[in-house]
């Protein structure tokens, strides 16, 4: 059973003037069980709207959302005790202490106070748990929001930008926490604009642009979609190497102390042979790969242009 299944999800918002804004335009997405799933997209791409539809906070114009096998519109109540969520900024009562906020939530499902202690410890708020939330920094509120999402010891964790406002140490801690939860067999569905975080934390990723999913799959596979047909060659005599490669029909240029040869990664052998035939032996020959950020920008830009 998939943890999340979204089919043809469309969400339109009507404005007072009568025109419509399409937030989601036939989104299809499938999230398996276990691991950390990254949900990437630029601002306004529909990430939060998707999460709100999943959690029954918004009604889709069309399409179906299923969470843990249940339709979000009708069967969410039967699985809600297995879902933890943090949507946008943490929603907390500022004049209650952090602990009080968690205790009130825990009371809804009769969770024991020891569970509150556990999550407070997990997010490192032990020393500030009795302080009023209005005195918390943005990062502390975020930690408390994550603690609230963890309270139910959920099988599926839906986190919307969990690293918002966290300092580098906090980001590292959250990254470790998400990885650990994913390794424990839980499904962590995390939307983020911090691409490096997703690259370091997630097993799978989906990239959203203009309400549509433009790429999805294991992070490495998505990265390979952005793999350029460029190989970089490092050798002593760069100019000689460039001339050899150009003569062999491989367009090459020298950039930042390496030769950039425009050839598919699977054709690396051609480069090696051509150079070796002229007694030139590369010290390094590797396919240039884009990082997720570049892939993300490329994919989302394509959609922007197409749209």
């Amino acid at each position: 059973m998939e943890s999340i299944e979204i089919t043809g999800l469309r969400k339109e918002y009507r404005r007072l003037r009568g025109d419509r804004t399409v937030a989601l335009d036939g989104l299809d997405l499938s999230v398996g069980t276990g691991g950390v799933f990254g949900f990437l997209g630029p601002n306004g791409s529909g990430k939060t709207t998707t999460i709100r539809c999943l959690l029954g906070l918004a009604t889709p114009t069309a399409g179906v959302c299923r969470v843990l096998g249940q339709d979000s519109a009708s069967g969410l109540a039967s699985v809600i005790d297995r879902i933890g969520a943090l949507v946008e900024a943490p929603a907390l009562f500022p004049t209650f202490s952090g602990r009080r906020n968690l205790e009130l939530l825990a009371g809804i499902h009769r969770l024991p106070k020891t569970r509150v202690d556990e999550v407070i410890e997990t997010v490192g708020l032990e020393t500030r748990q009795k302080d009023l939330v209005k005195g918390y920094s943005l990062g502390m509120r975020q930690r408390l929001g994550i603690a609230a999402a963890l309270l139910k010891d959920p099988q599926l964790l839906i986190l919307d930008e969990p690293a918002n406002g966290l300092d580098p140490a906090g980001i590292k801690q959250v990254r470790g926490l998400l990885k650990r939860l994913g390794e424990e067999g839980r499904t962590v569905f995390v939307s983020s604009h911090l691409l490096t975080e997703v690259q370091q934390t997630c097993d799978h990723v989906a990239i959203l642009a203009r309400g549509r999913c433009v790429a999805t799959g294991p992070v490495n596979e998505v990265l390979s979609k952005g793999r350029s047909n460029v190989m970089s060659v490092r050798l002593k005599d760069l100019e000689a190497g460039r001339l050899v490669l150009n003569a062999a029909g491989i367009a090459s240029t020298i950039v930042d102390g390496v030769i950039r040869a425009e050839v598919d990664a699977s054709d690396g052998e051609r480069i090696a042979r051509a150079l070796a035939a002229h007694d030139l032996f590369p010290s390094e020959l590797r396919a240039e790969e884009m990082d997720l950020e570049t892939v993300f920008l490329e994919l989302t830009d394509t959609v922007e242009v197409a749209a």
Binding site: R52, L55, G56, L57, A58, T59, L76, A77, I80, I83, A85, V87, E88, A89, P90, A91, L92, F93, P94, T95, F96, R100, L104, L105, G107, I108, H109, R110, A148, K152
Partner: protein, 292 residues
């Protein structure tokens, strides 16, 4: 549902506004009780002075027979009725009027508590967080509505009882507790209970308006505009419609004096119907609207 209700009750009674208002009201009661304690005087001299003053005023009234509106026939009886008895003692049996007078501001506070309770939920987006724990909106609304009405009812009940208790020393030590028979106490208890019920009504009305408007100020503004403007205009231009106005029915139900075309029980039922309608409208808005 029970757990949900328990959480709502805990949250509502933990709110700073609720506790702060309760504290200030009780401080007000203490001041009122203290002032009454020192104003009330049951010493023989004070009683003698008051009686002498009363006799002098009666004599003055009799002397004015046929003048200044004092009738020349049956003057003695008329003066006895119209010259106020200046008793320096505080009589506990007169507590009904202060209690009813206090009812209106307390109902307004119940309105504020109910409206701000759900208004804060929207303002801090905790309604959304709540729905990620209990997505059945009917249950969420019901638990909140019950929490508001129960809290408002018992809150006003408790405050009225505290008020009575704080006024008791003035009557017991320096005033009079005469006339407090079983009939009086049962009448008094019914007054307190009716005011509690009206507080529950006010709290729920504030709650319903804030749920629709998603804002405390909107609920208070609509309430004020309705009571001060709409009802005022109706009374002025369509007096025959007064029987259906919330304010008039609250007045009749609270005082239990029949002043409208229908009975006091009828007023209670009408107010119940109004609040049921308000909650139903709030439900229609809350049921499908997006929560962000």
């Amino acid at each position: 549902m029970k757990d949900l209700l328990r959480v709502e009750l805990r949250r509502l009674t933990s709110r700073r506004l609720f506790r702060g208002v309760s504290f200030l009201v009780i401080i007000g009661f203490i001041v009122a009780g203290t002032i009454t304690f020192f104003i009330s005087n049951d010493s023989p001299q004070a009683l003698a002075t008051a009686q002498a003053k009363h006799r002098a005023e009666i004599a003055g009234c009799l002397a004015d027979a046929g003048r200044d509106g004092v009738p020349s026939v049956g003057t003695e009886g008329w003066c006895e009725r119209h010259v106020e008895t200046s008793d320096p003692r505080f009589h506990f049996k007169d507590m009904e009027w202060p209690l009813l007078t206090l009812g209106l501001p307390l109902m307004m506070l119940a309105w504020l508590i109910g409206a701000s309770y759900v208004g804060a939920d929207w303002h801090h987006r905790t309604m959304m967080a709540h729905l990620t724990w209990e997505p059945r909106r009917g249950r969420v609304l019901l638990s909140k509505a019950i929490a508001v009405s129960i809290t408002a009812f018992f809150w006003i009940l408790a405050l009225e009882m505290i008020f009575s208790a704080l006024m008791w020393p003035a009557a017991f030590f320096r005033g009079s507790t005469a006339g407090l028979d079983a009939a009086w106490w049962s009448h008094y208890a019914l007054d307190v209970a009716r005011l509690g019920g009206l507080a529950g009504f006010a709290g729920l009305l504030g709650f319903s308006l804030a749920l629709v408007g998603r804002n405390t100020a909107a609920a208070l503004g609509v309430g004020f505009a309705y009571l001060a403007v709409v009802e005022g205009l109706v009374r002025g231009f369509k007096p025959s419609w007064s029987d259906w106005l919330i304010g008039d029915n609250i007045g009749q139900f609270a005082t239990w004096d029949r002043v409208l075309g229908h009975s006091q029980t009828g007023s209670g039922l009408l107010l119940t119907a109004y609040i049921a309608l308000a909650v139903a409208i709030a439900w229609l808005f809350f049921r499908k609207r997006e929560v962000a």
